[in-house]
């Protein structure tokens, strides 16, 4: 790659990352770097490998080769929960919350304390926990629904709840997979407002199709196609890149 920085300066440094499924390379020799407090959006056509990249970073999929450095830690060697404890949070494409628990309990489980077996057994729901849960619930517009079973929430509310569950973890790198997909217009506006508030003071890696939304928040855009970087830079630069136009309009 052209970028010749030392990887140490970056929060996240992905280098020569490759994963192959039975010979098919879903991500192929991919390298990119995310700085502190940067908001990076990954776009690309379906099957470009966007979700796979997030899966690789958070440990859901194991890389075939290459490295992922987060604050100098090699993530490819860690387990999922260790990656989370290192400070990487991940929101899934479809809302992934606990239907059998209440909103309060959903948020409480994500509270970054008592994560060992012993810690969970002796975990006390003290004032600090309550205060933090309520604070986050307020941010995600669910303050008056704390005792509601999560299965009774609307699709948009479930998305917010999952965002809230990430928020309470307070990750340094937040990864969001299509956070506004499947939302009504009013929910979209509220979500954009919510995201704009929570992406402060941390790095964010977003996959999104909504170009308006991308333009609003992105510092830098990475365009993926067939597991490789097609173009990278500011939204303006990417938008006018003939290769990108080819891929998006050529279909």
């Amino acid at each position: 790659m052209l970028i010749g920085h030392q990887p140490k300066e970056f929060l996240l440094a992905v280098e020569a990352l490759t994963v192959s499924f039975d010979g098919f390379k879903a991500v192929n020799d991919l390298s990119f770097y995310v700085e502190e407090n940067e908001i990076r959006v990954i776009i690309g056509p379906n099957g470009a490998g966007k979700t796979t990249v997030l899966d690789l970073i958070c440990g859901k999929t194991k890389a075939t080769s290459g490295s992922i450095q987060f604050r100098g830690k090699e993530l490819t060697k860690l387990k999922e929960n260790e990656i989370v404890q290192a400070g990487v949070g991940r929101k899934f494409q479809t809302p992934s919350i606990y239907d059998d628990l209440t909103v309060f309990e959903n948020l409480e489980i994500s509270y970054p304390k008592g994560r060992s077996v012993y810690g969970a057994l002796t975990f006390k729901r003290d004032a600090a926990v309550r205060a933090r849960v309520e604070e986050v619930a307020e941010m995600i517009f669910l303050k008056d629904r704390l005792d509601t079973g999560a299965d009774l929430l609307s699709h948009g509310q479930k998305q917010w709840l999952e965002i809230g569950m990430l928020l309470i973890q307070d990750p340094e790198l937040l990864m969001l997979d299509e956070p506004v997909a499947g939302m009504s217009v009013s929910e979209r506006v509220k979500t954009a407002e919510l995201l704009n508030r929570i992406i402060k003071d941390r790095s964010v890696l977003v996959i999104e199709h909504d170009m308006k939304f991308v333009e609003d928040i992105a510092h830098k855009v990475t365009v993926l196609n067939q597991g490789q970087i097609l173009s990278e830079g500011t939204m303006d630069k990417v938008k006018n890149d003939p290769k990108v136009i080819e891929v998006y309009l050529g279909h």
């Binding site: 499924f21 039975d22 098919f24 879903a26 796979t52």
Partner: protein
């Protein structure tokens, strides 16, 4: 444990035990084929599979009795009719069970396990009420008795050869149905994406029902083969169910080749060990080895890495 035997003795032991193992292998493969179809393709754990097999065995026994009593002249060929009847009987029962029970539980695999266990208890008691608690043996036609003398020291029983040929034929037929026929494609389509398969016009309910029935039908044929190597009782099937499940899991569920390879290795290990120690210790060691390997390699012998 090999110390007491000469090299030549060991060779003969391995060959003879190998043949003995091949018959066990045949029953395992026939049992496991049906189970692999149902478990591998549908994700359903059928704990009553052994009882479907025993149904086939009872059907074979009844057919042999009918031929003996009314058609003694045709007795030599009864076995072929018995196999077909066993397939139909077990398949039909399978279809009924899928309709009444299994289809309500596709989203709850662990519950299927409990429900089919309940079914197996009911079937066992039904067999006991109808056929009695005593084990019954099937009389074989004359041509199946005796054995072939391959060399001076090695004899192969004819019914063993027959069972093995049967196993090969059925395996080929299943492979053809699953991988080459239109219906097999539909089954695999439903496995991979139920919603999509439904959307392109495949009747997924019908595919489920016939897949389940096919698996049970093959178990019925396995029951026919089983009568040649053991006597049939109400609970004979239960003895095989865990072994067979291990065969399927060890082979790597959705893989036909894996099922055969694992049936082969398990049956050969057990039968070879049986010569050197008591049958129960041979079984313990074999099962321990299988469980141990599964703990190290849970995906089984053959498994594909797929993008999820």
């Amino acid at each position: 444990m090999f110390g007491d035997y000469s090299i030549g003795d060991l060779g003969s032991i391995f060959v003879m035990q190998g043949f003995a193992g091949l018959i066990l292998f045949s029953v395992y493969v026939l049992m496991a084929l049906g189970l692999a179809i149902i478990f591998g393709q549908m994700g359903v754990i059928n704990m009553a599979h052994g009882e479907f097999m025993i149904l086939g065995a009872y059907v074979t026994w009844m057919t042999s009795n009918v031929f003996q009593a009314y058609l003694p002249g045709l007795f030599a060929g009864y076995f072929f009719l018995a196999m077909i009847l066993a397939f139909i009987a077990s398949g039909a029962l399978g279809m009924l069970v899928e309709w009444a029970l299994i289809r309500h539980l596709y989203k709850r695999p662990l519950d299927t396990l409990l429900a089919t266990w309940g079914l197996s208890l009911i079937l066992q008691q039904a067999y006991r009420s109808v056929f009695g608690a005593r084990e019954v043996g099937v009389e074989l036609p004359q041509w199946m008795l005796g054995s072939l003398h391959v060399t001076d020291s090695i004899e192969v029983p004819i019914n063993g050869i027959f069972v093995m040929c049967l196993t090969v034929l059925i395996t080929l037929a299943v492979a053809y149905i699953m991988y080459k026929s239109r219906w097999g494609r539909q089954v695999r389509a439903v496995v991979q994406n139920r919603v999509m398969a439904g959307a392109v016009g495949i009747n997924t309910e019908k595919v489920d029902r016939y897949t389940f029935a096919l698996g049970c039908g093959i178990a019925g044929v396995a029951g026919s083969a089983f009568t040649m190597i053991g006597s049939t009782g109400p609970t004979s099937g239960q003895l095989y169910i865990v072994d067979t499940f291990l065969v399927v899991v060890f082979g790597g569920a959705a893989s036909l080749l894996g099922t055969i390879a694992s049936a082969f290795s398990i049956s050969q290990t057990q039968s070879t060990l049986e010569f050197f120690m008591s049958g129960s210790m041979a079984k313990v060691l074999t099962l321990l080895a299988v469980v141990g390997i599964l703990m190290l390699r849970p995906q089984g012998l053959f498994a594909l890495k797929v993008r999820k």
